[in-house]
């Protein structure tokens, strides 16, 4: 018999009783559906021990790595502390190291994190401003010895969080932050797979993180990045990405402009909406892994299109930015 710890309370799992059954027996409100390991609505996360493999059937590799499991399938062999995945408090304080503009409206915020904060680039964190506005931002750099994380913050005309960071936050300030969340990140399974990365606007943030991670881990397959925006002045990190192109044979980059565009500076852009430009390059995408980040409509359309072109649904990772999160 094992003990599970949930929200600082201990509960004993009876013999042959699943984690879900134990929690429901204690009248806790836990989302669930089929109780057969199919619908995945009962998913939870272990904070300490690795969940039994049998309780992870059907989950994606990234979820397994994060110790996610299906509570309706989980018979505990050892004690476990667990939490619901949607829970997010502000357990960390991140210290502001620098602020720098990447283009006319995107700010690079560099923060110092503590040892207890772990992440994969491409995951997001929730940050809380002085007036308690909460926004999610993706981490655009891989883990490093200096304990730095980088966020790309879009400054919208009446964006509360952005203007707070831009105008009021000073170097050395602390910003309350959640743990790193989400499963939109690189993993080293099947390194010969092609990677297709497509993003709009600041959807580049997670993709840039995933890209650097994949290159550092010496991904073997092709890596194709497509970044789109309305106007040329909205694109950013072009030089840094071009630099990576020149260093890595398997990596290519296409910048797309969907609005009007005259070729003034002899720079090369593709004309059109980014997902349409990207799709026109492939007649089929069997065996590719796809990451889609940014505008929800683009993400949704592209998700359907790449699925129809042969990508396995489990190989599609998405991060849709709803307007309040831009």
């Amino acid at each position: 018999m094992a003990t599970l710890n949930y929200k600082q309370q201990d509960y004993i799992c009876q013999k042959n009783e699943t984690v879900l059954d134990t929690l429901l027996r204690e009248n806790l409100n836990i989302a669930h559906g089929c109780r057969q390991g199919v619908c995945q609505s009962c998913i939870m996360r272990s904070v300490d021990t690795n969940p039994p493999v049998a309780a992870q059937q059907g989950l994606r590799e990234n979820q397994k790595q994060q110790k996610h499991f299906l509570s309706c399938l989980c018979l505990l062999e050892q004690d476990m502390q667990l939490e619901q995945i949607t829970e997010s408090e502000f357990a960390h304080n991140l210290k502001v190291l620098s602020k720098q503009m990447l283009n006319h409206d995107t700010l690079l915020l560099r923060l110092l994190h503590d040892e207890a904060f772990t992440f994969k680039s491409g995951q997001f964190i929730n940050l809380k401003s002085a007036d308690n506005t909460v926004r999610s931002y993706s981490i655009s750099n891989p883990p490093n010895k200096q304990l730095h994380i980088e966020l790309q913050i879009r400054l919208l005309a009446n964006g509360r969080f952005g203007s707070w960071v831009h105008n009021e936050v000073e170097i050395g300030d602390n910003i309350p932050a959640s743990s790193a969340l989400g499963s939109c990140f690189y993993n080293t399974e099947r390194q010969e797979q092609g990677l297709l990365l497509v993003g709009t606007g600041s959807g580049l943030a997670p993709l840039y993180g995933i890209l650097q991670d994949a290159l550092q881990q010496e991904h073997k397959g092709a890596i194709h990045l497509f970044h789109g925006s309305r106007q040329a002045k909205d694109l950013y990190l072009k030089e840094q990405i071009q630099q990576l192109v020149s260093e890595h044979e398997n990596f290519s980059y296409t910048a797309c402009i969907s609005g009007e565009y005259r070729n003034e500076h002899e720079e090369h852009y593709s004309q059109g909406r980014v997902h349409e430009v990207a799709l026109s390059n492939y007649s089929y995408l069997n065996n590719w892994r796809v990451y889609l980040c940014g505008h929800p409509e683009m993400v949704k359309q592209m998700q359907t299109q790449v699925f129809l072109k042969g990508v396995d649904m489990n190989d599609i990772y998405v991060d849709a930015f709803h307007l309040s999160s831009l």
Binding site: C34, V38, G58, K300, F307, M313, I316
Partner: protein, 122 residues
């Protein structure tokens, strides 16, 4: 259990192989794809796995009543026998593409057929 239909088909691995093919067919079928419009494709995919698991005679706890409730909002939007037949055809051709033996296909189709009245709220 060792010779249940679900096991003969190949269990969870068979469902995983079938769901991508099946769901692609459904999404490309203009006569029914509007029923599957959703913001979260991954969740919809998990539901289609539930559907296939059930049709394959696998472990599930759905009752006829659940099927009735689960599709009632679709019946309100006009779900009828034609739509049901279309889904059944996609199920059948998915199995055939995967090389499933004819007598097993017939068993799956019989399970699907047995849910018709509940799914259509008749």
């Amino acid at each position: 259990m060792s010779d249940s239909l679900y096991e003969k088909l190949g269990g969870e691995a068979a469902v995983n192989a079938a769901v991508n093919i099946f769901y692609r067919k459904v999404l490309q079928d203009e006569t029914i794809n509007h029923f599957f419009e959703t913001t979260d494709m991954q969740k919809q995919m998990a539901k289609q796995k539930s559907f296939l698991t059930m049709a394959f005679g696998g472990p599930n706890s759905y009752t006829g009543e659940d099927m009735r409730k689960g599709h009632a909002h679709l019946v309100e939007k006009g779900l009828n026998d034609n739509h049901f037949n279309a889904v059944a055809e996609h199920l059948q051709s998915t199995l055939e593409e995967l090389g499933v033996a004819a007598e097993l296909v017939a068993e799956v189709m019989a399970i699907a057929e047995s849910t018709r009245n509940d799914v259509l709220g008749k």
